[in-house]
């Protein structure tokens, strides 16, 4: 494919599912995030890279941390941010996704970050031809939440491998346990796919009623006994019990759930010394996690929020930074990660 600089329109890349990322794509995103994380320590926490680009946060579902995280990430890269939430917009008057998308297109959105209660809405937006920009899935129904999985993998790599020593490396051989409401969790789904891609061994622990149908086709193991899995886990990821989706009797009482699948101080004591406790937030203290665990040094919940900004900066940069996205393209557009190619091109093109 012949591409002249600036002549042809950008080919948009999208981030819809963690399954679309190859191991190299994922490691590139983590490495880029590692460099961008250092921007947070500077006096001026801003880079000029996406000046003049517009990122629309299109949120059809309530969210604080994901929206704020994407907003902070876009602003740190100097992009213009437009926040669009369904409440108080024309969507509450009955506007369809298509018409909303066409409106955004007319306003010149370079990227649309979408959260939607319907699984598949971001895919529809990316493949319908309604908009030209990049589409980033910020959580769709019970399907996927790829940037959350990326920031979890980033947090894991920093804690288990090391921030500097982790560059270029994956999570080969690490044992990650995901506990809780897997059925309703897009976070779990994306994490299973991404962590598997990165070489980790994932075990799901949940009451049988909260394990989705078809889980045997997922690249992970399933257990119903938390105490048996804990001693062999490098990290335990506690999922939020999603009260808003508990419209059927999935478990007898909250107390019973908490006793069998909640993480408390005693259980944490049985985990290996180096292991960490993760939670995507918001936490239900006393339900899936006790305050003692949530406030301990091993709990990475706050760290995950900070890492979320770095990961989202990396995703936005890799999708919008050049004339072709660096991830999730079929062929040509891969960034040149091998150092020789990179330095060669720099020396010749641009000194």
């Amino acid at each position: 494919m012949l591409r002249l600089p600036g002549a042809s329109p950008r080919t948009p890349g999208h981030l819809i599912s963690a399954a679309d990322l190859s191991r190299d794509d994922a490691v590139l995103i983590l490495d880029t995030a590692e460099e961008l994380a250092r921007v947070a320590d500077r006096p001026i926490k801003k880079l000029p890279t996406l000046r003049g680009r517009t990122v629309v946060n299109l949120f059809f579902e309530d969210s604080t941390r994901t929206r704020i995280s994407f907003e902070a990430a876009a602003k740190r890269l100097s992009a213009d941010v437009i926040n669009f939430s369904a409440k108080g917009s024309s969507v509450s008057k009955g506007e369809s996704l298509k018409d909303t998308a066409l409106t955004l297109e007319a306003m010149g959105a370079d990227a649309v970050v979408i959260r939607h209660p319907a699984s598949g809405a971001p895919y529809r937006l990316a493949t319908s031809g309604w908009i030209d920009g990049a589409v980033v899935n910020a959580g769709d129904g019970t399907h996927e939440h790829p940037t959350q999985a990326l920031l979890d993998a980033f947090t894991l790599r920093r804690r288990l491998v090391g921030a500097d020593t982790g560059i270029g490396r994956d999570l080969e051989g690490r044992r990650i346990t995901i506990v809780g409401d897997v059925l309703h969790s897009r976070v779990a789904r994306s994490n299973v796919l991404l962590l598997h891609t990165l070489g980790a061994r994932v075990t799901l622990v949940a009451p049988p009623t909260l394990v989705p149908i078809g889980v045997e086709h997922w690249p992970c193991e399933v257990s119903y006994d938390l105490d048996r899995v804990l001693p062999g886990s490098d990290a335990v990821m506690m999922l939020r019990v999603q009260r808003e989706r508990m419209n059927a009797a999935f478990f007898p009482t909250e107390r019973e759930y908490s006793r069998r699948y909640g993480l408390h101080g005693d259980r944490m004591g049985r985990m290996p010394e180096h292991s960490v406790v993760m939670h995507p937030g918001p936490m239900n203290r006393g339900m899936e996690i006790t305050a003692e665990v949530a406030d301990s040094d091993r709990c990475t919940a706050v760290e995950q929020v900070a890492n979320g900004v770095s990961i989202r900066m990396a995703v936005l940069y890799l999708l919008l930074g050049g004339n072709e996205p660096a991830v999730n393209q079929n062929s040509q557009a891969r960034v040149r990660t091998d150092s020789h190619a990179r330095t060669d091109s720099r020396t010749e093109e641009s000194k």
Binding site: R42, Y317, V335, A341, D344, T347, K351
Partner: protein, 198 residues
């Protein structure tokens, strides 16, 4: 850029002619180190920042030589300019390199930027922007191993290892032991624009 098949001898890497060898590079760096000490009157507040990839190795070598001359360790770091480039939108997204600023920062210090080849000057323009976001140095100077001319911006180097007049059809390639296994500067001919990118 160098991965395509080559069909004429002028295009092959073998046709590239070495213009500087390892001893020349070592001598040039020693001279630059002495010049820095002379101009900075002792190099008390000098911070060396290399521009990835090869500028970083050159900065480390310069720091060693400066420490040898002054008897004090000289802070050395790296400054990635990718996010500040003016041609980001013209090509596929680039991977980032490490920015590593020494502990005491750059405020009030004499920052010497170090790069391998000075060509259009656009890299240095980007480096100055990047530096501006990191602090306010007392002064900024530029040291390069090779100045090949063809500036597109009003930028010049304070310390030059060697001036190599080139034509735009020629390429200058610096190889350093840390990255390429040997120290040399090669002067070659550009491949015809087969990639379609330039």
């Amino acid at each position: 850029m160098d991965t395509g098949t080559t069909d004429s001898p002028a295009d092959s890497p073998g046709a590239a002619r070495p213009v500087l060898e390892a001893p020349d590079i070592a001598r040039a760096l020693t001279r630059i180190a002495h010049e820095i000490v002379e101009r900075a009157k002792g190099a008390d507040d000098v911070v060396l920042l290399g521009i990835p990839t090869r500028g970083v190795y050159l900065a480390r070598r310069l720091a060693e030589k400066l420490a040898g001359i002054t008897g004090r360790p000289v802070p050395v770091g790296s400054l990635d300019i990718t996010m500040y480039r003016d041609d980001l939108r013209l090509r596929p997204t680039r991977a980032l390199a490490r920015t590593d600023i020494p502990g005491d920062g750059v405020d009030g210090r004499l920052v010497v930027l170090v790069d391998d080849v000075l060509f259009s000057g656009r890299t240095i323009r980007a480096a100055l922007d990047a530096l501006g976001d990191l602090g306010r140095p007392r002064a900024v100077q530029l040291a390069v191993l090779v100045d090949r001319g063809h500036r597109e911006l009003p930028i010049r180097a304070d310390y030059v290892g060697k001036n190599i007049p080139t034509s735009l059809r020629e390429t200058v390639k610096v190889q350093l032991a840390e990255e390429d296994g040997r120290d040399t500067v090669l002067l070659g001919l550009q491949r015809p624009a087969a990639s379609g990118e330039q």
